[in-house]
């Protein structure tokens, strides 16, 4: 295209997701505010949250996090695997995953994965992206409820087992919906602005009420419960970013 004659199409994309699966300094997943470890489950990288970055990750720090805590998680996981006993993998454990897949493969619903995903992306962009308000977030809560309901009626063309990328996309859409739900409910709940979370109706940082981590728990579709964990402040005080 010729930028002298036509406008250049520009669109923001997500660069990083703050927060994630909470872990210890050794990458062990923890499940509550008392730092209870889930034995044998590890997370590292962007998916994990060692609580390194606070409310706004600075440039370059993701790869530093990856290298340091990926290594630590690996070392600890290897140590764990050496001493741990294997569990019997029974139908009871596999059942849920298998059922998820079979449900999608056998569904004859009319909803299309790509269309739902496009709606999810657009509405999240409109209502829960850089600048947020309670009103928009509340609207998105309702939209997510509706999308989750429609997600139950998706169907796919490819019923095969080899490289079924359509099935993978369908499964991923389910996870996207769940992550969106955690994000939107937490953002609505946090009535302040901090780091990358900018609420136009609450533009100030509120250390008195909100100097704490949010742990989000799914109760059912459309219902999220919260618990909180204190922030471990080291050498550095939380400060406004003024540059």
């Amino acid at each position: 295209m010729d930028p002298l004659k036509e406008p250049v199409p520009v669109m923001p994309t997500a660069h990083y997701a703050m927060g994630g699966i909470p872990t210890t300094l050794w990458g062990q997943v923890i499940k509550d505010e008392k730092n209870t470890v889930v034995p044998g489950l590890y997370a590292a990288g962007e998916a994990a949250c060692v609580s390194l970055h606070g409310a706004n990750r600075l440039g370059t720090n993701s790869l530093g996090d990856l290298v340091v805590f990926g290594r630590r998680a690996g070392i600890h996981a290897a140590r764990f695997a050496r001493d741990a006993d294997y569990h019997e993998l029974t139908e009871e454990h596999l059942g849920e995953s298998r059922e998820r897949i079979e449900r999608i493969k056998n569904s004859t619903g009319k909803e299309k994965v790509a269309a739902l995903r496009a709606e999810l992306q657009q509405s999240m962009m409109d209502n829960a992206s850089v600048f947020r308000t309670g009103e928009l977030l509340q609207k998105q809560v309702e939209i997510l409820k509706e999308l989750m309901d429609r997600y139950k009626r998706i169907s796919i063309d490819d019923k095969g087992d080899a490289y079924n990328t359509e099935l993978v996309e369908a499964l991923e859409l389910g996870y996207l919906l769940e992550v969106s739900e955690a994000l939107v409910h937490s953002a609505l709940n946090r009535t302040e602005s901090r780091g990358a979370h900018a609420r136009e109706d609450y533009p100030e940082r509120d250390d008195e009420n909100w100097l704490k981590h949010t742990l989000a728990y799914k109760v059912e579709d459309g219902k999220v419960a919260f618990r909180y964990k204190p922030v471990v402040l080291g050498r550095f005080e939380p400060k406004a970013r003024t540059y």
Binding site: V113, I156, D157, D161, A162, Y163, T165
Partner: protein, 232 residues
């Protein structure tokens, strides 16, 4: 504009041989081939399988044979191809499904050249310093995204898959010419063997195919020369 998209498809569960499938897609001239594949997969036929990840030419997962040339679907615009577009899997690797090939032979060759820094000398107090000139010596190879466009466009690779392939040589070049590296002899063992650099007949297909504009053939010749001067 209306584009006729012909895709060479193969479903291991149903087909004995690959078959052509034709789709009509509405497209903008500035759409990429990847957009067309998505339009087919998302709104016409969900069973179409292909790899892609980043969508902007950096992960190297969507190399395909597009109108007879190896290219990245995410970097190839419709307006540069016209209204009839053919897409096939890259050649010389076993097809798993539709446009997805088994990359294992490609990565086996990659691993064989030890694509990592080898230096057993005791590490210095601080970094292993390097001058800008020393860094520039191997700069071209660092741009490789391991998309396999070069290796799968090489006629020598197509024949019986016994050639280590241009991509592995580019990767070896990146370390052989790194002033901090001490592992070139180990790499020469794989590169100098019957399946190594001497199979190259300088057909230049690799250089033409590389989406990162790496002068692949030149780097191969530099590795040949390095082995030659190391041996005599």
């Amino acid at each position: 504009m209306q584009v006729t998209l012909k895709i060479l498809r193969f479903d291991p569960a149903k087909d004995k041989k690959p078959r052509w499938e034709t789709y009509q897609v509405e497209a903008e001239p500035t759409d990429r081939v990847l957009d067309l594949l998505h339009k087919v997969k998302w709104y016409q036929d969900g069973s179409l399988a292909f790899r892609r990840s980043c969508g902007h030419g950096i992960c190297g997962s969507d190399a395909m044979l597009i109108n007879g040339k190896n290219r990245l679907a995410c970097k190839t615009l419709v307006k540069d191809l016209g209204s009839v577009i053919t897409v096939e899997p890259i050649r010389g690797l076993p097809v798993e499904k539709d446009l997805i090939v088994d990359m294992e032979p490609f990565f086996a060759a990659y691993r064989a050249v030890k694509p990592y820094l080898i230096n057993d000398e005791p590490p210095p107090q601080r970094e292993r310093l390097q001058s800008p000139e020393e860094r520039a010596r191997f700069d071209q190879g660092t741009k490789c995204i391991l998309c396999a466009s070069c290796t799968t466009s090489c006629p020598v690779f197509w024949v019986n898959g016994t050639y280590i392939g241009p991509a592995a040589i580019v990767q070896a070049h990146r370390f052989i010419f790194d002033s901090r590296d001490r592992g070139k002899r180990e790499r020469f063992k794989a590169l100098g063997s019957g399946s190594g650099v001497w199979r190259c007949r300088t057909a230049y297909n690799c250089t033409e195919a590389c989406p990162r504009e790496i002068p692949v053939t030149q780097l191969i010749e530099e590795v040949k020369r390095a082995i030659l001067f190391d041996s005599f």
